[in-house]
């Protein structure tokens, strides 16, 4: 699993395909909101801006990781390897998570500096909320990207398949982020965080168990 993760990160570091696309999209979306919201509205909309941006930009990046391997045929090289195919899922999930974490840091900085939401009063709690939300998103998006990448209309299908299933993540992450950004603390956001954590565990375990069946042609 570590060799796959190491290779994915080396490829991303060398080509910067996913991260470049992510950052450009993040900047564009934040700029759009900046021009359309007044400072008061920006503060209120910050949690929604954060998650809408991460999810739409993230879908693009997650699909890219599979597309590169699919186009070169290296995907089959991975499947041939004597590793549990569930481990391929976990490696891809972690690689996507790391790329999304970088985008998340850039996005949070832009929200503070450009959108003017103010510096979060509880940064560690915000990191915790974002981590839980990103794990759920990455697990689901990684699983469905692996399925959709072999289909012709993959760019259309991935959002269609993933977005309805992401509703619990979006609601919980936005609510928890809103509470934390308003200075409420993690304890106040606990009900939302519990649902997020449960979702993360279910999707990650299901992805690990189902991956072999889903990628076999």
């Amino acid at each position: 699993m570590w060799s796959i993760l190491r290779k994915d990160l080396l490829l991303e570091f060398r080509t910067r395909e996913a991260i470049a696309a992510l950052i450009v999209l993040v900047v564009l979306i934040v700029l759009t909101f900046t021009f359309s919201l007044d400072p008061e509205g920006a503060r209120a909309a910050a949690p929604a801006v954060l998650w809408v941006t991460l999810i739409f930009a993230g879908l693009l990046a997650v699909q890219r990781t599979f597309l590169v391997e699919r186009e070169s045929g290296a995907w089959y090289g991975l499947l041939l390897g004597p590793v549990d195919r569930g481990a391929i899922f976990v490696a891809k999930l972690i690689a996507n998570l790391l790329v999304l974490a970088i985008a998340d840091v850039v996005l949070t900085l832009l929200l503070v500096l450009v959108l003017g939401t103010g510096v979060p009063t509880a940064p560690l709690e915000l990191v915790f909320v974002n981590a839980l939300g990103l794990i759920g998103f990455s697990a689901l998006a990684t699983l469905f990207a692996a399925i959709s990448v072999r289909l012709r209309a993959r760019e259309l299908l991935l959002p269609l398949l993933v977005l309805p299933l992401l509703v619990p993540v979006v609601i919980c992450a936005v609510e928890a982020s809103r509470i934390v950004l308003a200075g409420g603390g993690a304890a106040a956001a606990a009900p939302w965080l519990r649902v997020l954590a449960t979702f993360d565990v279910i999707v990650t375990v299901a992805g690990w168990m189902l991956f072999e069946q889903l990628v076999l042609e």
Partner: protein
């Protein structure tokens, strides 16, 4: 020991049936050449044997087991039309990655040895993206063999290779055959296929339609191919 035991194997992609009722046994140490026109099902058969595709009918046992476990995959090497290489990694990085994937003790050392063996040592640090098709095929061959597989599945291995590369491959395969590896090679190259194999099998329409030993002086695989595929097509 029977290494590949395919019984009434079928494979469909949507409504297209690629393999139908295909039965084939390959014993340990055998070298079998698969011939057949385009679309006969050779590549699909090899990919099923490599555990990349699941059959839609029939059964396949590899090394006596119907399970598609990681341990079974460790014993298989597949050389396909696609090289399975990463264009943005160097030749050496590709081999080191696959060495690690297969759990080799010293992947860097094995990678360097194979780069030398396939004549790519001078291009070890160049990215695969700039390789010619022939160089990529040589590197794909190294990728296929670096974990020392017992069962070799080769799909058009001589394609894209220049004369020197093709001779290198034939010599490598001859050596592997002498070591007792099991080899299943799909090819359109009658001369090289017949020279290498102890058994020739012709596929047509997803079925085995003819098989014989090419060493039998009375048998001409090429003539049989023309007759059998022509007769079936008619």
């Amino acid at each position: 020991m029977t290494v590949v035991d395919a019984d009434a194997l079928g494979k469909s992609f949507g409504r297209v049936r690629v393999l139908r009722d295909l039965t084939l046994r390959v014993d340990g140490g055998d070298t079998v050449a698969l011939f057949g026109p385009n679309g006969a099902g050779k590549s699909t058969l090899l990919r099923i044997c490599a555990t990349l595709y699941a059959p839609t009918a029939g059964t396949l046992a590899l090394f006596g087991s119907r399970r598609r476990s990681a341990e079974i995959r460790r014993r298989i090497g597949l050389l396909s039309h696609q090289s399975f290489l990463y264009p943005d990694l160097s030749a050496r990085e590709n081999l080191v990655f696959y060495g690690r994937l297969y759990g080799l003790a010293r992947p860097e050392h094995v990678a360097d040895a194979w780069l030398e063996r396939v004549g790519l040592a001078a291009s070890a640090n160049r990215t695969v993206r700039v390789f010619s098709r022939g160089m990529e095929q040589r590197l794909a061959l190294a990728r296929t063999l670096l974990h020392d597989p017992e069962l070799l599945l080769l799909d058009e291995p001589w394609s894209a290779l220049d004369a020197a590369g093709a001779d290198l491959l034939s010599a490598l395969l001859e050596g592997l055959r002498a070591e007792g590896r099991t080899i299943l090679v799909a090819t359109h190259d009658f001369e090289r296929g017949v020279a290498l194999a102890e058994r020739a099998v012709i596929l047509h329409g997803g079925r085995v339609v003819w098989e014989a030993s090419p060493s039998d002086a009375t048998v001409s695989v090429e003539a049989a191919y023309r007759q059998v595929t022509g007769a079936v097509a008619a």
